[in-house]
């Protein structure tokens, strides 16, 4: 079990390492643009919940990125599966489905953390000094990445082609990226929209990550919700590995 898990994880990390410069560069682009656009353009004129907009934005970006980067493992899996057919290597080997899913999920979380460190670093350079060094902050990132990495693996196993994958992610990821309280406070939306949005994992992640970055103690129920969702999707992901055999 542990060998299989590590083999899958190691492969993803070696591939990431091969293209690390490009990866860091591409992970820097959008936070840089956000910081320039919203940091300079809005400056200190816009205040949200007693913080400058850029201070409000950075934790939101962290929450969103922990989602998008960990979800990004689905396209890595797809390329390995449909293009290189390396997935066959795993399917033909005596590793368990749990080991496979765990390896991919761990790799997804690793990518998410890489992307987030880049955001925090860039934010720091732009003068955003928040309260990052606490378990609430990292716990929120970890759980959110876990949820979306598991969703990503499950979807990657269920799709029949790479094109399907792109189609699905525009349904899962794009709406959440905009609605989950990453760019604006959810409490300004109408009541019905708030109810819907509170059902999304990203809303809970954005909330706990932002609160903890502002030095407050977040609502622990949000962690519980993320944890339960993560376990459910992780279980689904394990079930879907067998379905990937045609």
């Amino acid at each position: 079990m542990i060998n299989g898990f590590f083999a899958v994880y190691l492969r993803e990390i070696l591939i990431l390492k091969r293209k690390i410069k490009r990866q860091i560069l591409s992970m820097s682009i959008s936070p840089l643009l956000y910081l320039i656009a919203f940091g300079y353009a809005m400056g200190n004129k816009v205040v949200v919940h007693g913080h400058s907009y850029i201070e409000f934005l950075i934790p939101g970006l962290v929450a969103m990125s922990s989602m998008t980067y960990s979800f990004g493992i689905s396209s890595e899996i797809n390329i390995a599966r449909f293009y290189w057919q390396i997935f066959d290597e795993f399917q033909a080997s005596p590793i368990s489905d749990v080991a496979y899913v765990l390896g991919e999920v761990a790799a997804a979380i690793t990518r998410a953390f890489l992307g987030i460190f880049i955001i925090l670093f860039l934010g720091y350079i732009f003068g955003v000094h928040l309260n990052y060094l606490n378990l609430y902050f990292f716990g929120g990132i970890l759980l959110n990445s876990f949820v979306f990495a598991s969703i990503a693996v499950a979807l990657a196993m269920l799709v029949k082609s790479h094109a399907d994958q792109a189609f699905l992610s525009s349904f899962v990821i794009t709406p959440m990226a905009f609605l989950g309280g990453t760019f604006f406070p959810v409490d300004r939306l109408p009541g019905w929209a708030q109810i819907f949005i509170k059902l999304l994992p990203i809303t809970h992640a954005a909330r706990v990550i932002r609160k903890s970055a502002f030095g407050e103690i977040p609502n622990l129920n949000s962690y519980l919700i993320l944890f339960v969702l993560g376990i459910i999707f992780f279980g689904l992901a394990i079930k879907t590995v067998a379905m990937a055999r045609d």
């Binding site: 299989g4 083999a7 591939i15 066959d88 290597e89 033909a92 005596p94 368990s96």
Partner: protein, 283 residues
């Protein structure tokens, strides 16, 4: 060769949707044997290997590898074999060593054992100098040899080779044949698919002819050829190539003398046996 069965396939069927790909395949492969699964494009060769190796779900039937049923004991069954799939599936961006190392880990080999086996198998396929080369920089023939090396890392007792020489030139193909023969001679049971007649004829102890998902016959290449005759005489009649078979060369010569046309006399090969049994050409 003792007669211990290491691959047993019983009533194996596969449907893709409503389209049948295998219609009840039965066969046994014995320990140490080199078994060739010969058939034209789309016969169901890869489908059979993919089911045996757990990549595709079967519709019906049973498969045992070294006594382990592939569904009730998948882990044990999967530990028995190495697989070289039809298309190259190495990690192009990783080095030869990294590719082999990941494979070794998948099969639970410890770090010392892995290091030793990587060196051994690379020496075996004569590629120890390429250990640190990125796979994308290797030639097609070299990639094939690395695929074989990778499949051997965990010292499997069965090796599945799905069209191992497809797309390679004649010289490199012969080199791979020598390697495959060497692997078999050291005791590994080999199940090989091919649509190259010479490949099966040169390598195999026994051959199964597969056509449209059904096995037509299973026998040694010698017996299959014997069944047809010894000499084949090709000639053109009304614009199509015809072939007649003879036991003795003298009989063929006599035929040429008593008929007009342009003839070409050659030894009978497996292609003739396939043509005789299925009424169609392999390639």
């Amino acid at each position: 060769m003792d007669k211990k069965t290491v691959i047993k396939i019983k009533g194996l069927k596969k449907q893709y949707g409503s389209k049948p790909a295998l219609n009840g395949v039965n066969l046994e492969v014995f320990k140490g044997e080199l078994f060739a699964y010969l058939g034209p494009n789309g016969a169901g060769k890869s489908t059979t290997i993919r089911i045996l190796t757990g990549l595709t779900k079967k519709t019906a039937g049973d498969v045992w590898l070294d006594g382990y049923h592939i569904e009730t004991h998948p882990k044990q069954a999967k530990s028995q074999f190495g697989l070289v799939p039809q298309s190259i599936n190495l990690d192009m961006e990783l080095s030869v060593r990294e590719n082999l190392d990941i494979h070794g880990r998948l099969y639970g080999l410890g770090s010392k054992h892995r290091k030793m086996r990587i060196e051994q198998v690379l020496r075996y396929v004569d590629m120890e100098e390429e250990i640190n080369t990125l796979v994308k920089r290797l030639s097609g023939g070299m990639k094939r040899r690395i695929m074989i090396a990778r499949a051997l890392i965990h010292s499997p007792s069965i090796l599945f080779l799905d069209e191992p020489t497809v797309g390679l030139d004649a010289k490199i193909r012969r080199r791979l044949w020598a390697l495959i023969k060497k692997i078999q001679e050291q005791g590994t049971t080999i199940f090989l698919t091919t649509h190259y007649i010479e490949e099966a004829e040169f390598l195999a102890h026994r051959v199964a002819f597969l056509d449209k998902g059904s096995i037509i016959t299973i026998d040694s290449p010698e017996n299959l050829i014997q069944g047809v005759g010894n000499w084949a005489l090709d000639f053109l009649e009304d614009g199509t190539l015809k072939t007649i078979y003879f036991e003795k060369r003298k009989q063929a010569k006599e035929y040429i003398l008593t008929h007009t046309g342009s003839f070409s006399l050659r030894r009978v090969n497996l292609e003739d046996a396939f043509l005789r049994l299925t009424g169609k050409k392999m390639q």
